[in-house]
Each structure stands twice: as C-alpha cells, then as structure tokens.
C-alpha cells in the first residue's frame, strides 16, 4: 500500500489538529480486545475498525439469535445461528481490510483469560453478566491493562475507564472500587429479563470506542477513575468519581495463580454455578470470607478433619437439624466422597431456596489428597 492510500481512508481524522498522522500511527500499532460481540461490542467494533485500530480481538462464545438484532447491528437476519465472533470479524474485514482480526469463539474463564488478555493493549468490556465482568476486571487489574467498561439496562447506561492511572495523582481504580460485592443474581435483572432500548448499547458502545481511541492516541482526557451514567429518557449524564477502596486489596486475586483458582461463577452466585466446589476453591473461599462448614458423615468416620472448624450433623439427622442451620454465611457441606454432601445441599436448597450452599467435590478424601499435592509441589508456579 502506498503512503497516500494508507492514510486516505483516515484523512478526516488525520486533518484534526490534535490527531494527525502521529495518532493514526498509534491506532495502527494498537491491539484492542473486545470481550463480548453483543449490544456494546458491535458498535465499539465498528468504530474501532473504521478508525484503523491495527489489531482487534473478538471474544464471544454465543451464536446470533433473532432477539439480538434489535440492537446488535453487525448481524442480519441470515446470520441467525452463526457464531457471533466469526460473523462480526467477517463483516468488519469487509468494512476495513487493513485490520487484523483475531476470533476467539470461546467462553472466557479464569483459566484462559490471562493468556488471551496479555496479548492486547486495551480491553473493551461488552459482557452481559457479573461473573464475566468481575473476571475481566480482575484480569485487567492483574495484567495492568486499561479496561473500558460499559453496561446497559432498560433506558440507562454506564461507561468508564478502569486500571488507567490518573496523570497527576497516579491513582488507579477498578470495578471493585465501585461495586466491591456482586449483587445477588435474583435481585439484579439482565437485559433478557428487564429489556433494553436498542439504541442505548449503541450509544454506550460508541462511547467505549471513543474512550479506547483517546487512551491509545493520548488525545483528550479519558474517563479515568470515573464512570458516567446516561439516561436515554431524560438525556441526563451524571458523573461518579471513584476512589480506591480498602476492601479491593483484600478481595481481588493477588496474582495470576490466585486468579486462576478464583471461581467467578461462585463469587457472583450465577445460576449456572454448580452445587459443588473443588478442594482448591474451598481453600480459597475459606481464606476469603466467613463460611459455615458442615460434616454430614457419621461420628466415627475417618479421616478426621482437624485443619478447619466445622459442625457435625450426620446425614440421617440432617432433615431434623436444618431448623437450627443459619444461612447467613455461605455453607460448604462435606462427607467422605462428596455424595452425601450433595444430598444435604439439595435439602438445604429446598428448605432455603436460593441459599448459598455447596458440596465439597470428592469429599474430604479429595481435599486431603489435594493438600498433599499442594505441599509437595515445588514452588515454581508461573505467575
């Protein structure tokens, strides 16, 4: 490509005094990862591609549905049933062949997130659930990548930038400084349940693309340590300034290996979370918060568990004893191999619908084995 055609496409922004070829070159060099190619992701992707961001990653494990088309403007009727990430990349490549797209048709989790995110400079959060939001937030905090946050519901949206140091004070904040604890899923409706005005994610996603362009090129003042709330019905914007919370330091995974062990579905109480936790997750949870532990084995069963405190209620007496059980804290139930404890968790869920009770997967036997494996592993974990 000749010099002139390379710049011709972007000529209208290059002629801006603050922008110029310098900012354009920064965009060419930049790598942006868009997490979620839905209502927020579509407009963000369109404008980032149009602006000439050199490398764009798209993560989405979903396929296009008819009810997406009211707001997810990259897709058309004939795309229904097709994977979003690939479909979006194909459309965008046609819009702007200069861009290199990486398609990640996967569900982001704590095992794959760091290695994926590491390759990019800026992240766009276009996710639609709390578990993935906390996951993306924590990963970008650990890897020190600026995260452009966006969220919508009904007629309101929020946009902001996390993990970007203030130029004067060097202060950096993240989503946990705004919302330290995720809401109970039953009390926080999603767009599927509560609805969303189609144009709203268009506005918020476009604002996210704007913030990413500002961060990459250094023009203007990004929404650092700030989120802006927008109401489409009243046309009001309202700013919230965020300050570091003490709680964040103790609740966010401290390093890469702690992050990999963190169970975000469990943390956010997602509907899809299983009724079981692994020994590693159990250990992590015990250090993180106050939980109640119940042993449902008979009195003389071995091995003994003397490493943590628990109450003992043999399964045969569990039904009668349930009236004295408090559901104030999360409850972890264990037995020998994890079968009786699952039954007890089922009973707890029936008696206290929505209570946070889980069974220790593989029972105390698996936990003891895990302790052995942890204590004999050489200290060479990659982090």
């Amino acid at each position: 490509m000749t010099h002139s055609t390379k710049y011709q496409r972007y000529q209208r922004q290059i002629i801006l005094e603050q922008f110029g070829t310098n900012a354009q070159e920064k965009l060419f060099q930049a790598k942006v990862l868009v997490v979620g190619a839905g209502g927020l992701g579509c407009p963000a992707l369109q404008y980032l591609s149009a602006a000439g961001v050199g490398t764009i990653g798209i993560i989405d494990f979903d396929v296009v549905e008819l009810s997406n088309l009211q707001r997810q403007t990259l897709y058309c009727t004939e795309d229904i049933g097709k994977p979003k990430a690939q479909t979006a990349a194909d459309k965008l490549k046609a819009f702007n062949p200069d861009i290199v797209f990486y398609v990640h048709h996967i569900k982001l989790d704590s095992k794959n997130a760091l290695d994926l995110i590491r390759n990019y400079d800026v992240l766009i959060d276009g996710t639609d659930n709390f578990a993935t939001r906390y996951l993306v937030n924590d990963a970008s905090a650990i890897l020190n990548k600026p995260l452009v946050y966006g969220a919508v519901l009904c007629f309101e949206g929020q946009v902001g930038v996390f993990n970007l140091a203030d130029k004067i004070t060097s202060t950096k904040t993240n989503y946990r400084d705004l919302f330290p604890v995720p809401p109970d899923p039953a009390s926080a409706p999603s767009c599927n349940e509560a609805g969303v005005l189609g144009v709203l994610p268009g506005i918020i996603g476009t604002l996210q693309a704007t913030e990413a362009i500002k961060i990459i090129t250094g023009i203007g003042k990004p929404l650092c340590n700030t989120i802006v709330s927008y109401n489409a019905l009243t046309n009001l914007f309202y700013e919230f300034m965020i300050y570091p919370a003490k709680e964040t330091d103790s609740s966010i995974p401290k390093n890469e290996s702690a992050f990999r062990k963190f169970n975000y579905n469990w943390f956010c109480g997602s509907h899809e979370a299983l009724n079981e936790i692994t020994p590693a997750e159990f250990d992590d949870l015990r250090t993180r918060e106050k939980i109640d532990i119940i042993d449902v084995r008979e009195t003389n069963e071995l091995p003994l568990a003397d490493e943590f405190s628990f109450i003992k209620i043999p399964l045969g007496k569990f039904g009668a004893a349930m009236k004295v059980i408090s559901t104030k804290h999360k409850i972890v139930v264990f037995c020998q191999t994890g079968k009786r404890s699952l039954t007890a968790v089922k009973m707890l869920n029936e008696r206290f619908p929505g209570c946070a009770a889980v069974s220790l997967k593989g029972g105390i036997e698996a936990w003891k084995k895990y302790q052995l494996s942890v204590s004999t592993t050489p200290f060479n974990e990659q982090s």
Partner: protein
C-alpha cells in the same frame, strides 16, 4: 438541613425517578436506614453511594445541600 437525593437504575424504579429532597439526614448510614425502612425492597439490592459525585466507601457526614446519588450495578451488554 436538607440534602438532594438522586437515584439510578433499579433504585429509581423503587423509590421514584424524580430527584427528592430529604431533611435531617446526618450521615450516609442514617440515609441507608431511612431508605431500608421506607422502601423494604431496597434491602435486597446492592448499591453504591456518591456524595457530591464522589463514591464513598465509609459512613460519611452529610452537609446542607449535598447531593447524594445512589447507583446500583447492572450488567447488561
């Protein structure tokens, strides 16, 4: 002494969309108690509080004419 109360998202659905004025609320914990008492549905909702646009993490004294905004998280995308 009087403060202005703004609410967002689900909180606005519960307590009303229009800004309101509250008298004699000394600090943000008193405000939380007042809200929970008058709108019990708020007890199951997590929200953050901003006093004059600054998100607070601890109980904060309120002054005359302060604007307190109540922001619940939402996750749609």
């Amino acid at each position: 002494m009087e403060i202005n109360l703004l609410s967002f998202g689900q909180v606005a659905d519960i307590i009303g969309k229009d800004p309101m004025k509250l008298a004699d609320v000394k600090n943000t914990s008193e405000l939380n108690r007042y809200l929970a008492k008058n709108w019990p549905m708020l007890r199951s909702i997590k929200y953050s509080i901003a006093v004059n646009k600054k998100i607070i993490h601890e109980d904060t004294l309120l002054q005359h004419e302060d604007t307190v905004a109540i922001l619940p998280p939402f996750s749609g995308g």
